[in-house]
Assembly symmetry: C2
Homo-oligomer: 492 residues x 2
């Protein structure tokens, strides 16, 4: 790599002659590992101009560095960092002190890293049996058409959409397609002023929580629930009550008095996959009206309703404007796209939009426009259809393998989805189980992380089929059964 | 039912090729329920005649719709809407109630929209003399190589970088290039654990403020300062003190006792363009050590140092680990890319990373990888060089035009930059002036928005030359002078 001339500075107040300073500057860079073997130095003329010194000063410094085997001179090609240059691994630039004079524990206003989201192993693709949730499967993605749409969005006609600082606005083309092509599938009609694009559902939930919650306010979640939501609510300083779900999701009559905002996942309860029946949806809305609370509806996976059409969204049944609806492209496209949306009354969207403006302005324009083309050209629907077919097949294989292995399903999802919620025998700690299985190439998601602290079911786990090849499912399930059998044998 | 050919029309001004438009038109009709399963499409010849396009265009669109399962081809009988075409569940009457039963003023915990960022007019490109700041100029952007890098980042080898949910991580390739190719230009050496990618400088400043500020803490800004920063700090609930800058930026001895975090723009003070000399930088660091405050250094425009090399960053002079450094690609690439970075001690980055994870996880992977390639292949340096040359030329034209018109420059920027800070005669309200000029095709940025409330200079304004063609500059400046002369004549 050619080293840009801008990277060289003479430290103010440094001692020695200019020639010595130049030599020290380059030698330090090599010793610290910033300049690496084979990197090309600027010509002596360029460096001299840049530093405001005479060319001969640089030439002499270079000559000395060649003599010390820091540099190699390759005739007319110039000077390069020598392949055998001295290195001092671990040495750092003096300007970046390891030991800070600052007491950071006192400086940081809240413990953000204590609430962190539990990620999946970074190397999940290297495991042959990854029953992990929420990552894209390259075998199912319509790579070619996505490229085509991205290319179109990179065209000169779309230069503004690509480069512009939109401030608080969104790409009008994507808003148009969300309104016309996505929301009608959930029977939701909305105006552009009632829609806000977000960086995924995580960001949508975060914005809703920030606008509506704080100390003295009361939030209600499902128990178990999406872990990302728990970390969001933990940072608001509000009271958080977790209400146990049953096989029909959140029971409306258990929503405590004084609730301000209730977070629900009616389509596929996360993580149990329970579907809330229409009666219960209406009962929840009625209770919201009576007790005057708001509802944040996370409809994160409605696109994966391949067994039968999804039940109507809470938002579509909401006659009072109490529901803040959250949708996402993470499941229907891929999570790395980081795009989702909020549909809510304009008074809410106005505040969320201003907050988003202060936090990061807007999702990158290119990503917005690419998704807009993908929707406009019909690729989105074809892609979702393809996912439906694949997931339907995988689910059949899962069902058979689970039955054959004698495992217990705790929640399947009436409409489809991409995972099963599983129950190991009482007494099994699935965090231990996950560790054992990981060493055998199988990734499962232990259940404890989804529960409110102190009210965990340690024997639950989640098995997703969205990222595992169908041919791998039977053996993966068999290995889980085997590990469970070993545990049973061990305790008997 | 045979669908009458008259129901089809191509929307005026629609994007994409004719074939794509036809496909979108039919897919939309099916999704919206206007075209139903079993409906017969017009023959390709009839539709082609009706739309005034070639028959092959319609045939190819039909073929793609068959592939996407929107249509079925039944031999010589023609094309029908497929029985398994994607459908939306029963369209409901707009259920989104206009009048909400909810009292949103009581629901929203803070007035976010009161602190909003003042954007520039959306239609700025339609004004012939846009002296507006911070937008990209299509004439200067290396569109072809950007496309090439984006395409490479869309390749199958980069599928993980594109689609993966990184959770709290960043693209290691981009981090590597930030460490090796960008930070050394500011004499900053750092470990990967000391760098965090953000959604632009706005997001970096927001994260720093959230981690370090809250009720009972004291923030210090420059006066005037970047408006986005004022809205960020306003939302933290901390005390904010604005300190008047002089022609060398923030005077360290005016930082009040009890300051927790000081926000500065030493390279090009925003918006006055003052450059802080090295002596003053050292004095500020000394005062930070003595009074135990932290410094957030917004180095937002260091790449635009085309007159002479930028002064060393505060971060590079910081022996105590007190400086949180903020960089951005908004000026060197384009603002719509929404990418910036923080360099700070690991203890700080850990908290900022956890917070970012809860707020939106990570910037989209595709954007990260595209920028990484743009850096890796040397296009970034070539692009910045091209900007330097163009801005240097424009600056000469600006200087001449301003001199000829007799306007007063209040701050020019010793190293370069992309704007002049201007002073109109005392008594001129530049918000009025901006309105007058806008009607005459000239966009300027009135100064009041940059100042702390109650301490505004109403006669200042900013003229940027980053988005205006050099040929337009003289006439634009002449029109400003003319409008000012009219005001003078009017008051005499």
């Amino acid at each position: 790599m050619p080293i840009p001339v801008e990277t060289f500075f003479l430290a103010p107040g440094a001692g020695g002659t200019l020639q010595q300073q130049i030599r020290a500057m380059i030698a330090d860079g090599i010793l610290a590992g910033r300049l690496r073997a084979g990197d090309k130095l600027p010509s002596s003329r360029r460096l001299a101009d840049h530093l405001g010194v005479s060319r001969i000063t640089v030439t002499l410094a270079y000559t000395e560095l060649v003599a010390g085997d820091y540099l190699t001179a390759l005739g007319r090609s110039g000077h390069f960092v020598s392949q055998t240059a001295p290195v001092r691994p671990g040495l750092r630039h003096p300007s970046s002190p390891r030991a800070s004079a600052v007491d950071w524990t006192r400086r940081v206003v809240r413990d953000f890293s204590g609430h962190r989201i539990i990620g999946r192993p970074q190397d999940w693709r290297s495991h042959p049996y990854p029953f992990i949730y929420g990552q894209a499967d390259p075998a199912l993605f319509d790579h070619q058409n996505w490229r085509q749409c991205a290319l179109q969005a990179l065209g000169r006609r779309d230069f503004d959409a690509l480069t512009e600082d939109y401030y608080e606005r969104d790409d009008p083309m994507l808003i148009e397609y969300v309104l016309r092509a996505l929301l009608p599938r959930r029977s939701i009609a909305a105006e552009p002023s009632e829609v806000l694009l977000t960086l995924g559902a995580q960001n949508a939930l975060w914005l809703a929580a920030q606008v509506l919650l704080g100390p003295g306010r009361r939030a209600v979640t499902e128990n178990p629930c999406y872990t990302g939501l728990r970390s969001i609510l933990g940072q608001t300083g509000s009271d958080v009550t977790a209400v146990e779900v049953d096989e029909e999701g959140l029971p409306p009559d258990r929503v405590p008095d004084g609730a301000d905002v209730v977070f629900v996942t009616p389509s596929h309860q996360s993580p149990t996959n329970a579907t809330m029946p229409v009666d219960r949806r209406l009962a929840l809305l009625e209770r919201a009206a009576r007790q005057d609370f708001l509802i944040v509806e996370d409809d994160y996976e409605f696109e994966m309703s391949f067994l039968k059409p999804a039940a109507p969204s809470l938002k579509s049944l909401d006659g009072e404007g109490r529901v803040i609806y959250v949708g996402s492209f993470s499941k229907s496209l891929f999570p790395g796209v980081r795009l989702g949306y909020i549909v809510a009354p304009e008074a809410f969207v106005r505040e969320a939009r201003a907050l988003r403006g202060a936090v990061f302005r807007h999702p990158p324009g290119h990503v917005q426009r690419t998704v807009a083309y993908f929707l406009a050209l019909g690729h989105y629907d074809a892609h979702v259809n393809r996912l439906h077919q694949a997931f339907r097949r995988r689910r059949v294989v899962m069902n058979e393998a689970i039955r054959d292995a004698g495992l217990t399903v705790a929640g399947r999802g009436a409409f489809g989805g991409s995972s099963f919620w599983m129950a190991a025998p009482e007494g099994v700690d699935t965090e231990d189980l996950a560790q054992t299985l990981r060493a055998r190439g199988v990734l499962i998601e232990p259940g404890r992380q989804f529960f409110a602290p102190g009210r965990e079911a340690r024997n639950c786990y989640r098995l997703a089929y969205s990222s595992i090849a169908p041919g791998k499912i039977p053996e993966g399930i068999a290995r889980i059964a085997e590990a469970l059998a070993e545990r049973r044998a061990g305790t008997e």
